[in-house]
Symmetry: C2
Subunit: 370 residues, 2 copies
Amino acid sequence: MNDDFQLSCPTPLSNHKTVQLAHGGGGRLMRELIERLFLPAFAVVDEASLQANLPGSLNEAQPEKVKLLPPHDAAVLSAEAPRLAVTTDSFVVSPLFFPGGDIGKLAVCGTVNDLAMAGAKPAFLTAGFILEEGLPLETLRRVVASMSAAARSAGVKIIAGDTKVVDRGKADGMFINTAGIGWVASDVNISPARVCPGDVILINGDLGRHGVAVMSVREGLQFEGAFESDCAPLSSLVEAMLAVEPDIHCLRDLTRGGLAAALNEIAGDAQVGIELDEASIPIAEPVAAACELLGLDPLYVANEGRLAAFVAPEAAPRMLEAMRRHAAGPQAAIIGKVTAEHAGTVELRGRFGGRRIVDFLSGEQMPRIC
Amino acid sequence: MNDDFQLSCPTPLSNHKTVQLAHGGGGRLMRELIERLFLPAFAVVDEASLQANLPGSLNEAQPEKVKLLPPHDAAVLSAEAPRLAVTTDSFVVSPLFFPGGDIGKLAVCGTVNDLAMAGAKPAFLTAGFILEEGLPLETLRRVVASMSAAARSAGVKIIAGDTKVVDRGKADGMFINTAGIGWVASDVNISPARVCPGDVILINGDLGRHGVAVMSVREGLQFEGAFESDCAPLSSLVEAMLAVEPDIHCLRDLTRGGLAAALNEIAGDAQVGIELDEASIPIAEPVAAACELLGLDPLYVANEGRLAAFVAPEAAPRMLEAMRRHAAGPQAAIIGKVTAEHAGTVELRGRFGGRRIVDFLSGEQMPRIC
C-alpha cells in the first residue's frame, strides 16, 4: 500500500471537519488527506529543487547525477555524496501550540538541529504523523503549514511521509516523528571525543525560553514581559560558524535537560571537567522570574534554538563574533571552559565566588516539552 | 541534548518495572534505558558491520571511505552511493503482540519492505519510540528484541533512535516510527508509471493472514486451523527476483487496504486497467473462514509480507519460478494482467465467470493493523 507521499497535487479537502479513522486506513480518505493537505504544504519536490539540497561540489560538477525517481513507496534520490548524516526524533509536545512555535515547527527544527550539531548541512526530512481520531483538520493544517515554513527557512526538503490515525483517547492530539539526512563536509570533525582541556565553551543566546513558554501555556500562567520559545533552525548559524573556523571540536543543542544535561553528557563522554561562569550565562529577566515561580532551574530547562560550541581558545574570539553577527546568535556568550580536573563533572562558579556541582537530574523536570 | 542513540554498552537495567515519565526526560533514567535496553539489542554498530551495508562496488573498491563517526546527535556515515532510497512509516498496531509477530517486527519489516518495493537494498533504519508511562519494561524489551531479530534477518542496521514518553492514558502502550535508507542499483527502474498493457501480475503468497491474525486477537476469537501473520521482510525475495529479471516494472506491498487498494492505486497512477482471476488468488481456508465470520473481504485485508509484481509477459514464467524457490514465496501465483481497457479500474473475473469491479474502500475496514 502506497501510504507514503512524495509529490504534489493541490485541491481543497472534502467535507470532513475532523480526522476520521479512515484518514489512516489506506482508502480514498487517506489518499485525499495526503494529496490535498500534506503534499501542497511540503512543496513540489522536483529535480531542480532537490539538486539544491545536494553538496555544492556535486551540484556544480555533476548535475545530471541528481534525480528524483517518480513517487512510490520510497523517495529515491540519486547522489554521490561523500558523507551522510542521519538522525531521528519524535515530537509529543503538549500543548500543540505555544508562544513562538508549535509541534510542527519543533519537529522540523529539532531534527535539523540534530543534523547541524554533527556539522552536517541538513538536506532531507521524512515526516511520520500519528493522529488522534477527532483532531480538527484545521489544527493539522496549521501544524503542516508551520512545518513547511520551518523547512523552507532551514533549507530542507520533506521528501517522504506517513500517516496513522488511532482511536479517540489513544493518542494526545498529534505526535510527529521526523528523520533527517544531511551531508558533512570533509574537513568537519565534530565529536564529544575531541573536547579537551583549554577548550572554550560558547552558547548562542539566553536560556530557558522554550521550556518556560510551553510550561506557562500548560499552567495557564501569564508572565510580565511576555516571551516566546527560542525554537529555531540552527543550520545556517552552524554554517556561519564553520565558515570562520571549520575545526569546531563539538556542538550540542540544549534541548531536553537543558544546558546542564548537555554539558554533563559531554564531560562524561570526553572525560574532562567543565567550569561555568554563572554571571556570563544569559537568562532573560522574565524567564528567570517565571522559573522562580514555577520552581525550575533555567540551567535544566529545555531550549529548541540554543547550542553549546567547544572550540580551541585561539578560535574563541572570532567564533563569538561570527555567532553575534548571525540572526540566531546576537546574544552569544562565552560561558566557561574545559579543564583537566574533576573529569566528568560540571562546576558552576557563582556570582559571589561560590562553587556548586551542576549534576544530571535523575528524575523528570518537565515532561512533554518537545 | 543527545537523546539519540547510536552505539552499544550492555548492563542490566535498574529497579523500575514500568516506563516512567523520566525515561523520556533527558536525565539519567533515559540514558540508562538507551544504554542498557536499546543499544545492546540493536547490535554494535562498528565500522566493519556498517561497511557490509554499503553497495558492493563501494565496499570492494574504497573501504577507507566507509566510516562511522563517534556517537552523537546524528549517525554520520561516509559513503559514495549512487542512488539513495528513503522512506518512513509509523506503527500503531493494537494489540502490540499477535500470532506471528509484534509491533517491533512490523516496524522493521514495514519500512524494509517499502524500500524493497522501490528496488532498493535496505541498509539503515532509524527508530523513534513513543511510550506510554506505565508500559512494562518487559514489554518494551520483547519488542526491541523482536526488532533486532527482524533487522538481522532483513540485513539492515538500526543506526539512530529516539525515545519519548507521554503520560498515562496519552498513548496506547507504544508507537514506533522507523525511517529507512537503501541503495538502488543503477539498472533498476521500478515505478507505477512503467506498468503497461500486457504486463503480468504476480503475488508471492496467500492473502489476508496479517489483518485477520490481528483482528482475531483483538476480538478474542480462536479459529480452527490456527494461522499466523505473514509479517516478514521481503528484501531478499526482491533481490532474488531482480537477479532473474532486473527489468521489473513495478512492485507494491499489499499492506493497509490489501491487494485491492494497491492495485487500484497502480491502475490509477499508470492509467491502465487491471484484470484479476479470482480462482488464482491464493487464500488459506482458515483465513477465508475467519474473513467470513468477521465480515471482511480478504482482498481488502492488510498483509505485511506480501507483494504484487508487474513484469513483461515473457519474464513472468522465470519470475514465478524464482519467487516459488524463495522462502518468502513458495505459494507465489500469477493472478492477473494489465489491460488497455477500463483505465483506472480493477476488475475481478469470478470463479463462475461473473465480473465485478474491485474499488477502493472509501471508509475504514480495519484500523490499527500496522
